[in-house]
């Protein structure tokens, strides 16, 4: 299906986004977010999972966690562009939740051949996360270091997002028949969670070890399902980066409009103004590419893979740039723990390499545009 001119972003989508913005503003304004996640500044403290499960329960109640469950499996039938708007709002609030990962799991399951049990769990309100990256951070199921035999998993999955918050894991594991997706109850026997110490205070990440953990196969071809879902996953992550980027931009614009040096507001100086305009342009680029990728996915366009890589390649650069300029333009105050900027700075730095960094996505893109390099 060709892409509609308006990205398929209709009134329902706009309504969902406003609702989400209002919800996050109301439930976790940034001062409360800071109190929640930044209560302990010790740099080498043990990792903790700071979040408000009651906010998540409300999000589930609002139906947000099932938005990537296909309509014929009990989902709501909203297009991915609408979901991107929701995630953009969450990125703007930096609210800690397992929403994005649960939506990612729904996306992967949508391309699995025996996913019903997974959809049922999500429809029941369960949250879940993908577990498939290897020790070096390759986000490709083919490099998973988990193996399945006789319905049990053994091995380790790395860089598992929101593992501290979710109820279940969708694990890529190698079996005799190939690499498949398996559903594992996080609190079941044989599942060991070691929280990673990450800079991002608004998310959590863990190394998950499986020791004869019970697992149910939901998709027999993990790579195929992941590849099909990947553009959608990348579109949503790019939307998150846009939301956080907008917060950084607007907070910085406010600051430099008020803060005076040399008898002028800082924003008078082009050395401040022009970089902020460049940040705005970068955010706009990523935003357009995020919604384009979501729309391409909705439409089943042949260029959907390309659109996904383009979106995350852009998002990785925008994450870095928006974060770096916000701290720099805030000057000394932006460098303090008490200023909220660092929460978003760190979130952006975490998003930068998540699900692949800019160089990796551009290499994938080049393989599509040029074909692989001749050996």
């Amino acid at each position: 299906m060709a892409q509609p001119k308006n990205f398929g972003y209709d009134d329902d989508a706009a309504a969902l986004k406003s609702q989400a913005e209002k919800f996050f503003n109301d439930r976790l304004p940034v001062d409360q977010l800071h109190a929640l996640v930044a209560h302990d500044s010790t740099p080498d403290r043990a990792p903790v999972v700071d979040w408000k499960p009651e906010i998540w329960a409300e999000m589930v109640e609002l139906g947000w966690s099932i938005l990537t469950v296909p309509e014929d499996k009990g989902g709501l039938g909203l297009p991915l562009v609408a979901v991107a708007g929701l995630i953009e709002a969450q990125g703007k609030s930096a609210c800690p939740s397992p929403l994005l990962e649960t939506l990612n799991v729904g996306l992967v399951l949508s391309h699995c051949d025996q996913a019903d049990a997974g959809f049922e769990a999500i429809l029941e309100g369960k949250s879940a996360a993908l577990a498939f990256a290897d020790q070096d951070g390759s986000y490709e199921p083919s490099s998973t270091q988990v193996a399945e035999m006789g319905g049990k998993l053994n091995g380790t999955a790395y860089f598992v997002q929101e593992a501290g918050k979710v109820d279940a894991l969708l694990v890529a594991a190698k079996s005799a028949e190939g690499i498949a997706w398996y559903w594992v109850d996080k609190v079941g026997a044989g599942v060991g969670i070691k929280q990673d110490a990450i800079i991002d205070l608004t998310r959590d990440q863990a190394t998950v070890t499986f020791t004869d953990a019970e697992a149910v196969c939901l998709g027999s071809d993990a790579c195929k399902a992941f590849n099909a879902a990947q553009p959608a996953i990348l579109a949503l992550l790019a939307a998150d980066v846009v939301g956080s980027g907008e917060w950084l931009l607007h907070t910085t614009v406010e600051y430099v409009s008020v803060r005076k040096q040399f008898d002028r507001p800082l924003g008078f100086f082009q050395g401040v103004k022009h970089p902020l305009v460049n940040v705005m342009l970068a955010i706009d680029e990523t935003k357009s590419l995020a919604y384009n990728a979501a729309c391409a996915y909705d439409c089943g366009e042949p260029n959907t893979q390309k659109a996904g890589h383009v979106a995350k390649a852009s998002a990785a650069e925008t994450a870095d740039f928006s974060a770096s300029r916000a701290v720099q333009m805030h000057g000394g105050i932006g460098f303090t723990w008490e200023c909220y900027v660092h929460l978003y700075f760190k979130r952006q730095m975490h998003s930068k390499a998540l699900y692949g960094d800019a160089v990796w996505h551009r290499a994938k893109l080049a393989d599509i545009v040029f074909g692989p390099v001749a050996a």
Partner: protein, 412 residues
């Protein structure tokens, strides 16, 4: 069926079909002369004659000015120009030569002139029979446009006498008419300006002198225009007296790509029929250019660099598309005001990258058979500075975005 065609109304679909069949039958084909990359580089009358003939035929077929009212010589339609543009670009037609007229003069006239003047000027503007130019910049008034000094003095019989010096006047050496910003009151900077349409060709040697300037590329393109006691009727004034700045803002809005009316646009074809400044063209170049026995497209570093530009280009395309979706935009001018800055810098980077793909061939120029695409990339890179400078430098564009969209304090 193309993507674009899917959302056409039945009337639009019929018009698109008309465009296609007319273009299939009437495309002017490979030109007999070397054509420039854009209208403002037209150097000689061979080039101009060919392109004017093409604009006239496209106008006669209803492909130019479709959204203008019928009494102005237009088609009287809504949202047809976009379709005509899409089809002309798709058909790789030549460019339309009257770019200043179509892009700046026409919308300004439509918004500010009397109906009488509209009916008098617009038909021959749209058809390309009258070429237009723009008299804004002066030696002392570039980015700071409001400091223009060219003066219009009222005469006793209700006319005006114009004296002054305009520069960077693209197409003036071909133009019949000029839109001009002049000072009528020296005591107010912004409130002392007026805006006229001036017949310059008929006044050549009688109050108007046009001197061509040569660009760094060696091409012609813009001019100095000197006014020496040129007398002009008051009916040629578009502003309420002293409100010329507001009229000029309409022109600039369209110049910066932020107007609400589609500018007729055609082309993509130049002397090398396939040449366009796009990342796709760099991709093609990289595949065809050999270095060390392998195509440049096999070099991972160059692949990465080209993909960086592809991301920028895709971003620009989809941002332009997003401009039409209010629910996905923030400040209403946030996207429209980006256009000129983004396009001009994108073309600059893209042309530079193409030269890098070419390596040692990058500095070969027009007329060298081994040059990249006949030297068009190298020419294009140099010409790109025209676009990052003219109509408000990139620096001024960033000020405008920072001040009007982000609300930052003014830098001046």
């Amino acid at each position: 069926m193309s993507d674009a065609a899917r959302v056409d109304t039945p009337e639009q679909a019929a018009f698109r079909e008309h465009c296609r069949s007319w273009l299939a039958a009437n495309h002017p084909g490979e030109p007999p002369v070397r054509l420039p990359q854009s209208a403002i580089e037209i150097m000689n009358s061979d080039q101009m004659d060919f392109l004017q003939a093409w604009q006239k035929s496209a106008y006669d077929a209803g492909l130019v000015g479709c959204d203008y009212p019928k009494f102005c010589g237009g088609g009287g339609h809504t949202d047809f120009q976009r379709i005509a543009n899409e089809e002309m670009i798709r058909a790789k037609t030549p460019i339309l030569p009257n770019v200043i007229g179509l892009g700046m003069a026409a919308p300004t006239i439509l918004n500010h002139a009397s109906d009488e003047l509209k009916a008098e000027l617009l038909p021959r503007l749209l058809s390309g029979e009258d070429i237009w130019c723009q008299g804004f910049s002066e030696p002392g008034a570039g980015s700071d446009l409001a400091s223009v000094q060219t003066f219009a003095e009222p005469t006793e019989d209700g006319k005006w006498v114009i004296n002054g010096h305009k520069v960077w006047t693209s197409l003036a050496h071909f133009a019949s008419w000029m839109i001009i910003l002049v000072r009528t009151d020296k005591s107010h900077k912004y409130d002392g300006l007026s805006y006229f349409v001036v017949p310059i060709k008929s006044a050549l040697g009688k109050g108007v002198t046009v001197r061509p300037l040569i660009k760094m590329t060696g091409e012609l393109g813009f001019n100095e225009v000197l006014f020496d006691n040129l007398v002009i009727d008051d009916r040629m004034r578009l502003d309420e007296l002293g409100k010329g700045w507001q009229v000029a803002m309409t022109t600039l809005l369209f110049e910066r790509g932020a107007g609400n009316l589609d500018t007729p646009r055609a082309g993509g074809m130049t002397s090398k029929a396939s040449f366009t400044t796009s990342v796709g063209a760099v991709v093609k170049l990289a595949k065809e250019t050999m270095r060390g026995g392998k195509p440049v497209s096999d070099d991972p570093v160059m692949r990465d660099k080209i993909m960086q530009e592809l991301v920028k280009e895709e971003g620009f395309i989809h941002t332009s598309r997003r401009a039409r979706v209010p629910a996905l935009t923030d400040h209403p001018m946030r996207i429209p005001l980006q256009g000129k800055l983004q396009v001009s810098e994108m073309h600059q980077r893209t042309a530079n990258l193409a030269m890098e793909v070419g390596g040692a061939k990058g500095s070969l120029y027009l007329g060298d058979e081994a040059a990249l695409e006949g030297g068009q990339w190298t020419l294009g890179y140099m010409n790109s500075f025209g676009f990052t400078i003219a109509a408000g430098t990139s620096e001024v564009q960033r000020n405008i975005l920072g001040e009007r969209v982000l609300g930052l304090p003014k830098s001046k």
